[in-house]
Symmetry: C2
Subunit: 344 residues, 2 copies
DNA sequence: TCGTTCTTCTAAATCGATCTAGAAAAACGA
DNA sequence: TCGTTTTTCTAGATCGATTTAGAAGAACGA
């Protein structure tokens, strides 16, 4: 069973290894009769076709693109935004007969993160929300693989993104129009588990999307008091925790802005538990417009999540795509969760 | 930049290729001084470390496990059950420093499905809800890779599953107790897109989970009239479509049983649109207990979704795991969507 | 001082295919 | 019939590393 290679088959049939290889890869390079004979012999010997690693080595094509995540891989699947993005990417990958290799790169640890990125047999890499300066990016760069990112501030010049600042501004303007002058922003915190929600300073916020979204908010609400609170990493529960902490404090804002929809949905849940109605008692807004946002009636910034994945896929796989940098449109979607600030 | 290999580095430093290889893989096989010199030279030359394909070929380890899906890859991400399973699998994969290679295998087309399964450089395969007899499984078998499945009736003797029949029976008994004698089961249909919902015969239902769940239902409800309806593949929209068709028909059942939660949730949506209240006007039940089921108040069969992935991961990666076949527990979770059948 | 054991390093084989260049045979045109 | 093209097949180099067995030198104990 084991140890059956091209050579074994070649010897059995009485042809050269090259011919057997051709039987699999270039059917028009040999007569049909011989090809059938080879395939039959291969089947009989239990030969499963050319070895993947060997083929990858020789031909230089791995038939897979890697997807880099900062977070643990398990988070990736719990985050609807990531899931939507992956679905889009997968669609294009399928089209090009390419598999998707998911690679967690850890948050900061160089030694660990390197292994996956270094050892992976891939043709190209999709960089999904990995902050600038992450060690894995250097490793990737060293490999010289084509890469495309979901942020313009990444090391590669291929990316698909949205205008985060402008999007956040339109949200900020919406809040301003509604009269909000005192808001709390739920951000993703570095905070270790168990420490509970904490108030953060602007400079503590990691780079990437969050910073730009904050920047946009501040620009659009220059007169507002903006506080930052983190309930943990980017997840529903963190939103619940962060918002609960805010709601139970002596100093409630008039609006809670989740920097992602999942956090905002968590905030809505925290309100529900306390008998508060989003949009009436307190305004809650999100970011991204994941499917659940619509059902929950969450005011948020819509961005074409699946399309982001699809465009990135084409950036990596489709030679016909000449554009290297794609900016997708966003739109403020006003739903029931936002309402006028109560008079003071 | 390109063409920098182990040899290049070796020549530059003036050592043998083996030594450079050891510098990366067996640091204790050479002096620290030399190792540093090698690594420095490598960095300077822009060498990104041992080539993944070559390493995989020589050492026989790809550092990845493949995940086989029947459906299109993009569906995998839209299905909460799949997502939960993947999250669990990913957790274990991470632990073992292994990446996940997602491989769609198409529904039936041999030629197409083979490519991914054949070309993938993987150490083992996770077979996720791929029906028995699927051509990709034969290809996989021929490769002689370790494999584990989410169904006991698959070709490999490693699997993690639930007792589908028993689980379905407990659901059937629940419905019987509530007085239901006329039910419609929403099944996944082969139906091409655009054909609209159709009534199906039992023998038209594909093998695997669905058949067993139906079997359990029938066993527990011998006197009931059980009809099968398909609104398409396994998705929310299909549930909406199938249920709408049923609700608008002249011959409404007293209960709609989704063979998966997403279908059941679709059915609830179809009811909502029509002003019907699940549990009062009509009973709706699901299967799997995905997160959304709890929020929606859906009566369903709970199964440990994430754990299923974790166990499968250990089956494939953890040499310490001796068990080959794991049966996970299930539980009927009664929520608001099921209620007594109206008196006739 | 001499054999013995470590440590450090290397030569050459090997993993399993694909590719290039070209030979042998068959088909073709005039 | 003879050169020319096309079809069919092959030899041998090559992709880039890892591995095995062992050499050279250093350290060690008695």
């Amino acid at each position: 069973m084991a140890g059956v290679t091209l050579k074994t088959v070649a010897k059995a049939v009485g042809v050269s290894p090259s011919t057997v290889s051709n039987a699999y890869n270039k059917p028009d390079q040999l007569s049909t009769a011989l090809r059938d004979r080879i395939l039959a012999a291969a089947h009989e010997l239990g030969y499963a076709g050319p070895d993947a690693s060997a083929r990858a080595l020789r031909s230089g094509k791995a038939g897979a693109i890697g997807v880099l995540f900062t977070d643990k891989l398990s988070y990736a699947f719990s985050d609807p935004f990531a899931v939507g993005f992956l679905a889009g990417l997968a669609e294009v990958a399928e089209e090009f007969r390419t598999s998707l290799l998911l690679m967690p790169v850890g948050t900061e640890d160089t030694a660990d993160s390197s292994t996956a990125v270094q050892q992976a047999a891939i043709d190209a890499a999709a960089i999904f929300c990995v902050p600038y300066g992450h060690p894995a990016l250097d490793i990737l760069a060293a490999r010289g693989l084509p890469a495309a990112a979901t942020d313009p501030d990444n090391y590669t010049d291929s990316w698909v993104a949205i205008d985060e600042v402008a999007a956040a501004m339109s949200l900020g303007e919406h809040l301003t129009r509604l009269g909000h002058r005192d808001i709390v922003v739920l951000v993703e915190g570095a905070g270790a588990a168990g420490t509970g929600p904490v108030e953060m300073r602007l400079d503590e916020v990691l780079s990437g999307n969050p910073t730009q979204r904050l920047e946009g908010l501040q620009k659009a609400m220059p007169e507002a008091r903006i506080r930052l609170v983190s309930g943990g990493h980017n997840a529903f529960n963190s939103g619940v925790a962060g918002a609960s902490w805010v709601l139970d404090s002596q100093d409630r804002p008039t609006a809670i802005v989740g920097l992602s929809d999942v956090q905002a949905l968590g905030a809505m849940e925290a309100m529900r538990v306390r008998g508060l109605v989003p949009g009436r008692d307190l305004t809650v807004t999100g970011f991204d417009d994941i499917p659940a946002a619509e059902q929950a009636g969450l005011t948020t910034i819509h961005q074409p999540i699946g399309e982001k994945g699809r465009v990135l896929g084409r950036l990596l796989l489709d030679p016909a795509t000449t554009e290297r940098q794609v900016l997708l449109p966003t739109e403020l979607v006003v739903r029931a969760s936002s309402g006028p600030a109560p008079k003071r």
